[in-house]
Symmetry: C2
């Protein structure tokens, strides 16, 4: 005759497995943790493992975090998940983190410093062990302060001035050089640049790269042909192009700071009855999804999004494990994908 069935109301805890294995919770803890397992007898370790297995014990990460002040999670600070650039990067990050036993907290800042500060604070109070930041501006007091406080940081797609932080970015110089070389080889001589925000390192480095590339191609650098966008967005790209067109400047091709800015140009073309690439060539940057199905398919410089995420996560894990190693940065090679938004000038 079997006794009354004991219904377990609560999830099994370390004490439960210890009791079942006939040992002290401390011993059970040591047995369960591969790091400390050598400290206990192999036989009792087996007993503990078996007990844990049998009742389906899962360590409580909250209690563990409280005691150890670690959390096996890192924070992901991005401006807006809605930007199609980020999801693949996030996937890359998550994939290497999870194989390392880490998890990621994602927060959106909407480019709002106040919101960013609150979000970061919330991440820190959850004991994240590091931050991967995609919102860096060249002058970024918050990041400076965090760095001084010893928070491990890795930047993606961006740098901050005067701060040696590990970062992973695409090689903007190479990418832009390919873009203008392509345009020049098609016969364009008057090329405009719709630059990204100059508060971001990416914005200035691409703008610089643009000027250098013009020189390399033996083309004149007309400062009136580069105009700055306030954000990396379609709307700002459109606005910038309107200003440029209205200024009366002459040009036959555009290298846009990124794909969204390039797509903003499409809107202006439609407004003004221009056709691309007949009236105007455009090349973007980033190779966001679905560009191949656009009208016209956008020529762009492709960057390895997923690998950017992968490298960023690796860098962060490295700095967690080796805190005082010299900050390493990785530069990923872009490639030009030529589609139908570029053609010889008429």
């Amino acid at each position: 005759m079997s006794g009354p069935k004991i219904v377990r109301m609560t999830t099994p805890t370390l004490r439960d497995v210890a009791q079942l294995a006939g040992v002290h919770p401390a011993t059970a803890s040591r047995a369960l943790n591969p790091q400390t397992r050598p400290l206990v007898n192999a036989e009792t370790a087996r007993k503990v493992l078996r007990a844990a297995e049998s009742i389906g014990y899962q360590p409580n990460p909250i209690a563990r975090s409280l005691k150890t002040a670690r959390s096996a999670t890192v924070g992901l600070v991005i401006p807006d998940l809605t930007n199609p650039l980020f999801p693949p990067i996030v996937r890359g990050i998550e994939d290497v983190l999870t194989t390392a036993g880490y998890n990621a907290w994602i927060v959106n800042t909407d480019n709002d410093p106040g919101r960013e500060e609150r979000q970061v604070e919330s991440l820190r109070s959850r004991q994240v062990e590091g931050l991967i930041v995609a919102t860096a501006r060249r002058d970024h007091p918050l990041l400076l302060r965090l760095h001084r406080q010893g928070v491990r940081l890795v930047l993606v797609n961006r740098r901050v001035d005067g701060l040696e932080l590990p970062s992973v970015t695409a090689d903007d110089d190479a990418g832009i050089a390919m873009a203008v070389a392509h345009l020049a080889s098609l016969g364009h001589t008057k090329i405009a640049h719709l630059a990204g925000p100059q508060q971001t390192s990416t914005g200035v480095s691409r703008a610089r790269a643009f000027r250098h590339a013009l020189l390399d191609q033996g083309l004149a650098d007309d400062p009136r042909l580069t105009v700055e966008c306030g954000y990396w967005s379609e709307a700002e790209g459109a606005q910038a192009l309107r200003r440029l067109l209205d200024s009366g400047a002459e040009f036959t091709a555009i290298v846009a700071g990124n794909d969204l800015i390039a797509l903003g140009c499409y809107d202006v073309f439609a407004e003004r009855g221009m056709t691309c690439p007949d009236d105007m060539s455009v090349v973007g940057f980033n190779e966001m999804p679905f560009l191949d199905k656009m009208r016209p398919p956008l020529t762009t410089v492709a960057i390895p999004h997923y690998e950017i995420g992968v490298e960023a996560a690796r860098l962060l894990l490295d700095t967690i494990e080796e805190p005082d190693r010299h900050p390493r940065s990785v530069l990923l090679a872009p490639s030009l994908v030529v589609r139908a938004s570029t053609a010889p000038p008429r």
Copy 2:
């Protein structure tokens, strides 16, 4: 002359504010928590508040979670963040959650049940107070089990058979009806349906709606004209269309299960030298971003992504606050946005 500067090495804790305010930590705790504040003298409460303010005290959510078994966070289970359908929904969810003081954990399952189970387990061990699930299949043992265990669930875009769970979905019937009515009004009589996976409620409900809509338009329902896609993806959409074309069936328009499937059709058109909408009209579903810039711009039925997220979060908060209220579901009205992928048949 000022004394030596005391450098605070550790973040301020409740004991610190209690000490500073000259009270016991318990009292400080009660004073800080609006729920329990009436239990302490108004004057001492003020003292505590001021002390907390002065040293920048932030409660430690980890310790709080450990004690209360709550966490002020909910889990978001989605198949793949890379699918552009989800980011806006996620934003909607996050926005209402954060104003309610909650946070969201996002996990990807890649449609892999094993991975899903592990991810959900990890969420539960972090004491999430509920789950918003976008990966539901009609037959979903995991969700059944979770529901039986009392986990608060709300479904987004999906239902599960035989389970009364709160859910928020677009009105598939209405959306599909609009799509085929549009096609019929253009003069199409042979309309095909590239259905989504029939393991998902959305897949079957759109397929059913398609047949009903044909009837309503007085059109014949030829079962050979609907073929099922294994996933909601471009590749599967393309594959399905190839099969349909190869079968020799005749049709002049396609209602795709969603936008990705519709875009998959574009690839096949290119392969086979067909042009859209001249040779074939297509309408999608979901209104994912950038469809207006596609070649051709895709006619689709738009659903309010952000609001779906908002409603889902509200539903979940409701079930958290009123656990045994009858499950409520919300159906959001879609709208047809007509672009250039649909035209009269030749």
